[in-house]
Amino acid sequence: MNTLKTSTTMATGSATPAAAPTGPAGEPLPRRSQISPIADAVAIMDQIPGGGLILTTVEAALNWGRASSIWPLTFGLACCAIEMMAAYASRFDLDRMGIIPRATPRQADLIIVAGRATIRIAPIVRRLWEQMPELRYVISMGSCATCGGPFYYDNYSILKGIDQVIPVDVYVPGCPPRPEALIEGILKLQEKIKREPILRQQAAAALRGA
């Protein structure tokens, strides 16, 4: 948190190099950086006593919302997609965890790479991932998406793991994984989302970009 505070003041200073406003004791005052409202809010909160606690509480509320409504992209490659469909369907019913499939990457938070990816489809998976809005997650479902699986040896067309193309958050093992295994993977992803300090991450990202 300390490093973030310094970087905030530095960035504010560099935006107005002539006269940085100072307080009565000569310390730099927090001011609107014109860079990012989140960065400003985080900087102000970090400087008031107890602000960090409030920030963490707000983050927890935000993360609870994000983790409880993960919208995955409907994108199946091979056999695992059938088990993914089974997970959406009657018996396993992913809807009860707030998971509603979206048909376009522009509305999706999560891409479940279900099945073997060929070298030919790899650029398309990459483009779909790039089309998703930020704070996106990837679940690699099944052995093939994880490492090539049974198609590892003597094979000229299968990509040996989707993590050569896009970063993966959760690996779900199995050939194919049962729907229960996919649900377990999604629960792991929810845990991960709930731990993320998203406000501070976004503030730092905004300042890096400035």
Partner: protein, 367 residues
Amino acid sequence: MALRTEELMLNMGPQHPSTHGVLRLVVTLDGENVMDVQPDIGYLHSSVEKMMEHRTYVQNVALVDRGMDYLIALNNEQAYCLAVEQLAGIVTPERARYIRVIFDELNRIASHLVWLGTWAIDLGATTVFLWCFREREMILDLFEKVTGGRLHHVYYRLGGVYADLPEGWVEECGAFLDYFLTRVDEYETLLTKNPIFLARTKGVGTISRADAIAMGASGPVARASGVAYDVRKAAPYEVYDRMEFNVPVLTDGDCYARYLVRLTEMRESVRILRQALLNLPGGEIRARVPMTMKAPRGEIYVHTESPRGDLGIYLVSDGGETPYRVKIRAPSFSNLYALTEMMKGWKIADVIAILGSIDIVLSDVDR
């Protein structure tokens, strides 16, 4: 003043919720009318035929599950095991042949249920999808009790099957069949006389008998166009020659006919299953085949009736432990040829309905 018009090229896929996998369709449009459709395949090419040359005959059973059509793992194993057995002269025990027929037909029902559910969801009927998967889970439970797997089983072995049916399974399967027939009637109440469904399927995507034959279509797609051909009748394998069942044939050749053919096939599968369960003999389930078996020099072509059509395997052996060359005749691949003929002249909204009606699985097309 004449308006200038030009044709529009539309890419559908590879990521599209209704392409049933990673198929890319290059559709040429004149307004809303489809002028031409060119399928672009190969996005799921798994080089399985090449891989099979590097694995022994016994190992390959696990590979045909995944590398070929993944919805019908047991029918793939059936075709492959039949080819090797006929080449090597292995005689399968009577009980194993009956068990194989039981599992082939159960897998046919499961595959048709996935087709019906996903096609109905393409046409906007979400309930059918949920109902179909409800019954499919029950079939998968039956599979799991015997094979241990839901989707990929590796249950058939060269010369038989891996394990015998557990106690009480036959009765359980019989009870499921009684239940399932009432459910098929239930699907019909949702779709068969539904005006929206009829408007989207009846008379849409027709293909004539001559065209279906010329394009090499098989299975329900050909039978809906009046081709009375079923490998189970034409060249019976296992114990299909002892079973009494009808092959549904319709002459309309449209999406609706393909739907009716598959629904009737599910009922006929139940009929076959009942006979097989009733006449199931006792005895051995597996002939003694060494793990390092070698097939004699030669070649063989075996075809079976998979849920999608005529599934053939051409196997060449040079006398070693691994096949010298394997060629898979995939029914979906040939049915895809017929797709262009079916779609020409229809509207863009019908593309989804027609594509779903041929029950395409891209793993089968690309292999």
